[in-house]
Symmetry: C2
Subunit: 403 residues, 2 copies
């Protein structure tokens, strides 16, 4: 009989120690988000294949775990294309199901709707360190809030959560997709190629400025325009100063400045306008932001405003703004910090074999009385190798009571 | 563009009210199980197709959501059988993955190992009331405990949990697979047909005694033997008296009596020996038990000892005993009870549009100060239809602060 003991490729079993940390983090997260008036929702991990392949998911759409049709529906299939065989798949993010849930339940939800969703997503990526095929995602969204209250509250909530995990020294980087657009216009770059150009420029840190210039020139952008665009990065990091020569509505700049100033007053973190911040997804329409912890070169949380998405699927104009925590990265960081949890007192009753029923009754009664006093208690039979048993229990931080 | 707003067939979105109840129940469950020394584990929802189709899952194996191979592996397939196309599937229970996790990690786990696992399972059933294709399961297991400490602790833990939900009036029904076997032997019924006969007898409540007799006779069981078997049910419900004419080791009877007596002392619930209790799965090897709430004719939790299963997959003899809560049924029950939760104070700041930055700063500061005092606070812009907005907020039990 074939029985495979390891989890499927790229997925993980979690043993008690790992679960303890994950649950600890999730509890603080839930508690914090609730205090900010966010409400928890949950959606199934299985999603309609039509929704998963609607071009909202970018590269992730290439990584879908697809689920075979069943019974008669499968029997009827003429197999020409793999999509004929499937009717659903595992979600690759929480945004598609959030949009679906909201579209289906708008009438029964508060407006604006503050939602958080914690759940696993699935991506058939080539497994590598820190990349998993089953990964936890934690999304925080405000749907229906058109003002910058959304950005201010989202950023404050996430920073508050991270600080309760005793992380310090954050930098919040913030930009606006409309400023990025104005920068391109200022440098006479073609807006039709906006996503492509921004993705290239975003690679400066990785491939260096010379390679970025080369790649852009290959895409028929004149060197002169490229230089003009890159020249912007030498300007002041004050958003108002930065934008003063750009073709942009001052309201957009004021809006961003307001977010920066108000967040600054409410959290202990640096917040800086960063004109190089791009964010991958093309669906963002306004402010975008990321949180960096000291000493780490990739973000632990990121998000932005995506005012057009819900309308695209529902024909109802609903503004939206969201923040997503890189939960798996956060856990890796916390594992390095070696957090110790405040434990309740733990007792283990180690009892000799073959007790008679009256003795056993007395012991079990005692055990359950201790539990009523909020203690953690377990009972085991004394093993022949008690020395080893004792050692293991002490390792688990149990106080031993021999009976 | 096709975008489907409802969840996939038989699966559910959970809105905040529903999530609140589910989280409330799960928190009490986790807290209780931890006090009994159980530790949480988690396994992926995706499982090797080989493990899902190893005949451990009974009827559930017909209901697997299968996941298509990807990329080159799919391209290479000659499609003759659907199993050629798949490499994995969604788990239909938590027992298969528990066995896998334990087989793979025994050396790093306490012995005996007290584990609990909370997670979703997937079954492609025909949707009907109370049956879902994505269902939460909550399993509690003790692996490696050969004595009846396992049964006693499991039953006490589950009853303690249910009582903390303010359920009252439980009946625990208990039996032993070896007593069922002795009953068949006593009535000269063929042990080779044990599972089939027991499943038929289990239907007395549903189809009536006449039909049961008929069905058994169709399977070549003489009426005389059937009558002898059924006659047992008129005997005393005291386990010792019931078993005194059966061909059974007295240790088995003493063991069961001990469980009954000790559980009785430690929980406020009825516990009764029930020789009609069968439990569906063939893998049980010893005591089996179910918990019934008053007025309900199906169990809300069930379990038993399955001492041979881990050995079957690992060649290591490890005793095992488990209990599974029917979480979705429990939630249905609680929804009928209309539980009210103790809420923290909730405030909503409703602010007039177009505040200047200094006003906004002051308001947001006040909001965050309240949050530091453990209050739940949200901020929304005052809508044109304030009367409606106010009504909705009061419905959500927010105290309104106008600014």
């Amino acid at each position: 009989m074939t029985f495979i003991k390891t989890p499927t490729k790229g997925m993980r079993d979690f043993l008690p120690k790992e679960m303890e940390l994950r649950e600890y983090v999730l509890n603080i997260m839930k508690e914090t988000y609730k205090q900010f008036g966010f409400e928890q929702i949950r959606t199934p991990v299985v999603e309609h294949i039509e929704n998963l392949t609607s071009n909202q998911g970018g590269e992730n759409e290439k990584l879908i775990f697809k689920i075979l049709k069943r019974g008669e529906k499968l029997a009827k299939v003429e197999y020409s294309n793999e999509n004929d065989l499937v009717d659903s798949g595992l979600r690759y993010d929480l945004t598609v199901p959030l949009t679906r849930l909201y579209a289906n339940n708008m009438q029964n939800l508060p407006f604006p709707f503050r939602a958080f969703q914690i759940g696993y997503s699935y991506r058939a990526e080539r497994p590598q360190h820190g990349r998993y095929r089953e990964l936890m995602q934690c999304d925080l969204d405000i749907l229906g809030e058109k003002t910058n209250l959304a950005e201010i509250e989202l950023i404050t909530a996430v920073i508050t959560f991270l600080q309760r995990l005793e992380f310090q020294n954050f930098t919040i980087k913030i930009n606006d997709r409309r400023i990025l657009k104005a920068m391109l216009e200022y440098a006479n770059m073609p807006l039709s190629q906006m996503d492509k150009i921004l993705i290239t420029i975003d690679k400066i840190d990785k491939i260096g400025i010379t390679n970025v210039k080369e790649e852009l020139q290959k895409n028929d952008i004149p060197l002169e325009n490229i230089e003009k665009y890159l020249g912007l990065f030498n300007k002041s990091k004050d958003v108002k100063n930065f934008c003063k020569d750009l073709p942009i509505d001052t309201q957009i700049v004021d809006n961003l400045e307001q977010i920066i100033n108000i967040v600054l007053e409410n959290v202990e973190a640096k917040i800086e306008f960063d004109p190089t911040l791009v964010r991958g997804m093309g669906y963002y329409t306004g402010p975008i932001f990321e949180i960096y912890a000291d000493g780490l070169d990739s973000a632990i949380a990121g998000g932005g405003r995506y005012d057009k998405m819900i309308e695209k699927y529902t024909n109802m104009p609903v503004s939206a703004c969201g923040f997503s925590i890189g939960f798996e990265r956060l856990i890796l960081l916390l594992e390095q910090k070696n957090i110790t949890f405040k434990q309740k007192d733990k007792y283990c009753y180690v009892i000799y074999p073959n007790k008679d029923i009256e003795q056993l009754k007395t012991i079990i009664k005692e055990v359950n009385d201790l539990r009523k006093q909020e203690k953690i208690v377990k009972v085991v039979e004394r093993s022949k190798n008690f020395k080893h048993q004792k050692e293991m229990l002490l390792n688990e931080e149990y106080q031993i009571i021999e009976k």
